[in-house]
């Protein structure tokens, strides 16, 4: 333990102050004393103690008030109350109000030293926690810069060249070689996407998506999302059904991140579906909100996992190893939806499937809802076809 801890003792009894000074003489601690509450509080500012002893029964400012003011000044200062046997009850009171411990009078030098040691251990822990918290904040702030440079830059450079090589070499290489190039692109794209997701969840600045908010039609986003899981669904022989109310109300939001949410949920739905089953996407207007519901007939989520699936880094205990996610997707989804003032819910039954629902508030100056959708095809055309 570091040597130069500072201890302040506030007590009106000179005997107590003197004996404490005597006990700590020659120790590594720096000691200061004050004979009443007001003097003690003045000393706190100039002495900056790590630990403060406060006598509960003093003339002038009562001990409990001194205690509260110390905590208000700096809650990381550890406080211990000094009390007579008759006032054990008020010692308990004091501890309820944040005092770390109490020292009953009369006390032996050993008892005094022990309480000091324990209180300073507490102080050390508090300071360490603070330092760690600060470090975490700094890491968070620097994360974007580190990620972009050390991880993302080299990957982006590789990917950029693969993009070009694929087109430059087409016609000169065999179709098998071309497929391998495409696979490389795909794998790197996945890795880039993973980094992006981590970055966004970890960064506190995800709120910046609010800058891109505009009035949007959800329908094309739903079709984009479905399109992106289409090939995966085909491979597993999963049918994708879509049914959207016509017309869907517009919402205020950022189409990029909302699409990300839908892709994420649909991806999970397909990933956790049994082959040959179906995934159903529905959307409708309800009480000033647009509801998007995505249901699968897959493995479902256990009751144990269900409350945690929107938490950071949570990946279900159930399910096969190869189906494990990165545990960040749904946490990110729920944050994105929160920023849109919406909500996301899940219902699930193990072995039967899950239904995710996203609620988004309708755009306040909703006016274009009756215009035809931009997507260019109607939902009836697509119903059951994808």
């Amino acid at each position: 333990m570091s040597d130069n801890y500072k201890i302040l003792i506030i007590d009106d009894e000179e005997v107590v102050l003197d004996s404490c000074t005597e006990i700590l003489r020659g120790s590594q601690y720096k000691l200061a004393t004050a004979s009443n509450g007001s003097l003690g509080l003045e000393m706190i500012e100039e002495f900056q103690p790590d630990l403060v002893f406060v006598d509960l029964k003093m003339p002038g400012m009562p001990g409990l008030e001194v205690l509260e003011r110390v905590r208000a000044y700096d809650a990381t200062i550890v406080t211990v109350v000094i009390t007579g046997f008759a006032t054990i009850g008020s010692a308990v009171d004091a501890m309820k109000r944040g005092a770390h411990d109490f020292l009953p009078k009369p006390f032996t030098p050993d008892e005094f030293r022990l309480i000091i040691r324990r209180a300073l251990e507490k102080r050390k822990l508090i300071l360490e926690t603070l330092a760690l918290r600060k470090e975490k904040e700094m890491l968070r702030a620097n994360f974007a810069a580190i990620v972009s440079h050390e991880l993302k830059s080299p990957l982006s450079a590789v990917q950029q060249n693969l993009f070009v090589l694929t087109s430059e070499l087409s016609g000169q290489i065999s179709s098998d070689q071309l497929v391998r190039l495409e696979r490389m692109k795909f794998r790197i794209a996945e890795l880039l996407e993973l980094i992006r997701t981590w970055l966004r969840v970890i960064s506190a600045d995800i709120e910046t998506i609010k800058e891109n908010f505009e009035e949007i039609d959800i329908e094309p986003l739903i079709y984009t999302a479905i399109e992106s899981v289409n090939s995966q669904a085909t491979r597993k022989d999963i049918e994708l059904h879509v049914h959207l109310d016509q017309p869907l109300s517009h919402v205020t939001g950022d189409s990029g991140t909302l699409t990300e949410v839908l892709v994420n949920i649909l991806n999970n739905a397909v990933k956790y579906s049994y082959p040959g089953s179906e995934v159903r996407t529905e959307a409708f207007n309800q009480d000033g909100e647009v509801v998007i519901s995505i249901s699968d007939q897959g493995i479902g989520i256990s009751d144990e996992d269900l409350p945690h699936i929107f938490s950071d880094f949570y990946s279900g205990k159930q399910g096969h190893q190869e189906e494990k996610g990165y545990g960040l997707g749904l946490a990110l989804c729920s944050r994105i939806i929160e920023i849109h003032d919406g909500s996301i819910t899940v219902e699930s039954e193990p072995g039967k499937g899950s239904t995710f629902r996203v609620w988004l508030p309708t755009c306040p100056n909703e006016s274009q809802a009756n215009e035809p959708a931009i997507a260019g095809f109607s939902s009836s055309q697509l119903e059951g076809e994808l």
């Binding site: 702030a141 974007a144 810069a145 990620v147 972009s148 440079h149 993302k152 830059s153 080299p154 982006s156 450079a157 590789v158 990917q159 950029q160 060249n161 993009f163 070009v164 087109s167 430059e168 880039l192 992006r196 970055l199 960064s203 600045d205 910046t208 800058e211 891109n212």
Partner: protein, 140 residues
């Protein structure tokens, strides 16, 4: 029309540059490259291109952002459209807390995230050049 257009790319990652350069040259653009902000600014001043492709995160810092701000203050150079190519879309907001994701350094600019899809890149390059030329006609 693209064969008459001259582009300047300022980026310190030679591998990334070669990937982008190949796309642009394949489409008939002439592409000059500077691998650091200092050379880049000199080339920009001595012979302003039709479009600047700028990496905002060069070396260890945000030298590209400083360069973009400097260009924004120059009455002549600020008319050059800029395609900002960044490792992370939110980079500027991360580096300068409180700044928007896309502060708009010059009248015509846009942010793209690395890596860039070739067709998308070509589409944005020609759109930016076009809108900056339109702006020049309007100003005159």
């Amino acid at each position: 029309m693209s064969e008459h257009k001259r582009l300047l790319m300022i980026d310190d990652d030679p591998d990334f540059v070669s990937g982008i350069r190949s796309i642009l040259e394949g489409a008939g653009y002439k592409v000059d490259v500077a691998y650091n902000p200092k050379d880049g600014f000199e080339m920009l001043e001595s012979n302003p291109p039709d479009l600047l492709l700028l990496d905002i995160m060069m070396g260890r810092g945000a030298e590209g952002v400083m360069l973009a701000r400097k260009i924004g203050k120059d009455p002549v150079l600020r008319e050059v459209p800029i395609l900002i190519i960044t490792g992370i879309r939110e980079q500027i907001a991360f580096l300068f807390p409180g700044e928007p994701v896309h502060p708009g350094f010059v009248p015509t600019d846009e942010i793209l995230e690395k890596p860039v899809d070739p067709d998308f890149l070509l589409g944005r390059v020609s759109a930016l050049i076009e809108s900056s030329e339109k702006r020049k006609v309007e100003v005159k």
